[in-house]
């Protein structure tokens, strides 16, 4: 009966959305005239810009239009970032669990990915990427993605890139960011693998996505776009409309804070709140299929080009830089983890090499287009060694059963990358610096760049993300616990989640 109710609720929400969209497609007369005259100049869906744009931008600047090359690159990036979750992350994680929990791992990733994608298109995108306050966007502006496409005029709204006058269709931006939101939630699953109840996973994900992912994404990434900066007098006001961490000036190219630290901390909290797996520390919990883990890690590497180089929003110099850095730092981390393990643990393992790759990918994420090639060498090598410590020495200290080391790799690697971005972004260390003045789009000079100052800003961003994610995660786990309970009974956990939760087995040999 309860299941029927849940299904009906879901159906009702979806139908309600369709109704909202139908209303939107029949706009009021006065609204239609405004939108018909002006090509919508919307940076990541800023409603205020819609009214302001015709007055100030239209006469002076050429009519903004989408760039087809950039759009093509973003479509490809989006598709390969999707591949990072399903199947890459699912296989990477799945290979590390025991055979009896393989399908539960795959299912949790598969369904979480789909759930977050749906929520993203209902209210998540609006909450993260529309103008609101410094913490949240506005949940109504793009509710059910209304206004992305105007059926009466055939006009698509546009999303800003990092260059003045260069746009991509906002609907492409929505899709690209959807894959980020979804994979971030999926990453958490590794920390509570092999024991968390499937229904509890879905409740937790809905809450954590809404109250942790969306606001952090808003705080770090939401801004009014380069074209909003027209003169020095109003630049302060324009910056004031951006997210809090963006206003601080923290650099996060593709999601060191938003994705990796965010997920890593939620995973650690989960490992504590959900508790240890039965028999943890007493029974062998060896990975059941490391070749699958290797395949997953390699697909992640490929998909990460979309993740990092796609985060340039354009297919130009910075996409190229992010691409090369993602390539190089990962290779460095594979080597440093492998040699580190060989030296300290005796043998260079396949799981170690695959873990090193992910550690390097995580660490280079905030730095991808923000550091030079030298920075990629350094960040990759350092991340491999620090994350090796993260899953050994540090793991023993935290005394939690973080099953697949989400904290040790993603949070530790993410923090490492976020802080080092502040160092290697410096022009004096071969980094490109950041845009100091968006009115003229000029970069900071080597003389003006303060490494300690930037690292401090990065640290503030990291600190806020850690606290925010941890608090929301803790409450979300507790709510899931109250509603359905976090775990299966002991005998069912021993039997394995595949048969108990999903009624099937991975392998019938």
């Amino acid at each position: 009966m309860r299941r029927v109710f849940i299904f009906l609720t879901f159906a009702a929400v979806t139908l309600f959305g369709a109704a909202v969209m139908a209303q939107d497609e029949a706009p009021a007369p006065e609204a239609a005239t405004v939108e018909a005259v002006a090509v919508e100049v919307v940076e990541a869906a800023a409603p205020a810009a819609e009214e302001a744009a015709p007055a100030e931008a239209a006469p002076a600047a050429p009519v903004p239009s989408i760039n087809k090359g950039d759009t093509a690159w973003m479509l490809i990036s989006t598709a390969i970032v999707l591949m990072m979750s399903v199947p890459a992350l699912a296989l990477f994680y799945g290979g590390m669990v025991r055979a009896k929990n393989m399908l539960s791992m795959l299912m949790q990733v598969f369904v979480t990915f789909s759930l977050i994608t749906v929520l993203w298109c209902i209210y998540g995108y609006s909450l993260a990427f529309t103008e609101g306050n410094a913490y949240f966007g506005n949940w109504e502006t793009r509710l059910f993605l209304k206004g992305i496409f105007d059926a009466s005029t055939g006009a698509f709204s546009m999303a800003a890139t990092f260059s003045k006058g260069v746009y991509i269709p906002e609907v492409v931006f929505v899709a690209f960011q959807a894959t980020f939101a979804a994979i971030t939630c999926c990453l958490i699953l590794g920390a509570v693998a092999e024991r968390m109840k499937f229904s509890a996973v879905l409740i937790f994900m809905t809450l954590w996505f809404t109250f942790a992912y969306a606001p952090i994404a808003h705080m770090v990434w939401f801004w009014m776009g380069p074209d909003a900066y027209t003169d020095a007098a109003t630049a302060g006001d324009v910056l004031g409309k951006a997210g809090l961490i963006f206003q601080w000036g923290a650099l996060d190219f593709a999601g060191g804070t938003v994705v990796h630290i965010n997920a890593g901390i939620a995973g650690l909290v989960g490992a504590y709140v959900v508790g240890k797996r039965l028999g943890y520390g007493k029974e062998a919990m060896t990975p059941h299929n490391l070749p699958m883990t290797m395949i997953g890690a390699c697909l992640l590497w490929v998909g990460w080009f979309g993740f990092n180089a796609g985060s340039a929003y354009e297919s130009g110099n910075f996409a190229g830089l992010a691409f090369m850095n993602t390539f190089l730092a990962t290779a460095c981390a594979v080597l440093s983890w492998t040699f580190g393990e060989w030296l300290f643990k005796g043998k260079p393992s396949m799981l170690g090499a695959a873990s090193g790759a992910v550690a390097g990918l995580v660490a280079i994420t905030p730095a991808a287009g923000n550091v030079g090639i030298g920075g990629a060498f350094a960040i990759g090598t350092i991340a491999g060694l620090i994350c090796l410590w993260g899953v050994n020495g540090l793991k023993k200290l935290i005394r939690a059963d973080d099953s697949l080391d989400v904290f040790g790799v993603h949070a530790v690697g993410g923090i490492t990358g976020a802080l080092l971005t502040g160092v290697f972004n410096a022009p004096s260390l071969g980094g490109p610096g950041y845009v100091a003045d968006w009115v003229t789009a000029t970069m900071v000079t080597a003389a003006d760049y303060s490494i300690s100052g930037q690292v401090l800003i990065q640290a503030k961003a990291v600190g806020l993300t850690i606290v925010w994610s941890a608090v929301v995660a803790f409450i979300a786990y507790k709510i899931a616990d109250l509603i359905v309970g976090l775990r299966r009974p002991d005998d069912e956990e021993r039997e394995g989640l595949d048969t108990v939760e999903h009624g099937e087995r991975s392998y019938s040999l």
């Binding site: 043998k347 170690g352 873990s355 080391d405």
Partner: protein
């Protein structure tokens, strides 16, 4: 009659089978087994987690032979399975009170 049970390294199975066939043994039973003796197990390391694996994969061969052939069988197995390194395995010999060939009903040495 005697039952000779040999525990050997898996990759030595073919050598042992050839050695026994060459001296006229016509049948044997082979089982994949796990165990440990003086060789002990080994450790496996998965990221930070270290597991001691006590039981190593081995092959168990069972051969039933007439009593007069038992020494020859033991030396054939020893010769074929030996590498000189720890973990080569062991041979156990037990008394066999009877044997029956199911198809014909023959018993004793006739059935071997």
């Amino acid at each position: 009659m005697k039952l000779v049970t040999a525990i050997i390294k898996p990759f030595k199975l073919d050598d042992v089978r050839e050695g026994l066939s060459a001296m006229g043994v016509q049948g044997m039973t082979v089982t994949e087994a796990k165990g440990f003796g003086r060789q002990k197990g080994h450790t496996e390391l998965y990221r930070g987690a270290e597991y001691v694996v006590d039981f190593l994969p081995k092959i168990k061969i069972e051969v039933a032979v007439p009593s007069e052939k038992v020494d020859e069988v033991i030396s054939a197995i020893s010769k074929a399975a030996s590498t000189g390194k720890i973990g080569d395995g062991k041979i156990f010999v037990t008394e066999l009170s009877n044997a029956v060939r199911i198809r014909t009903g023959e018993t004793g040495s006739e059935a071997l």
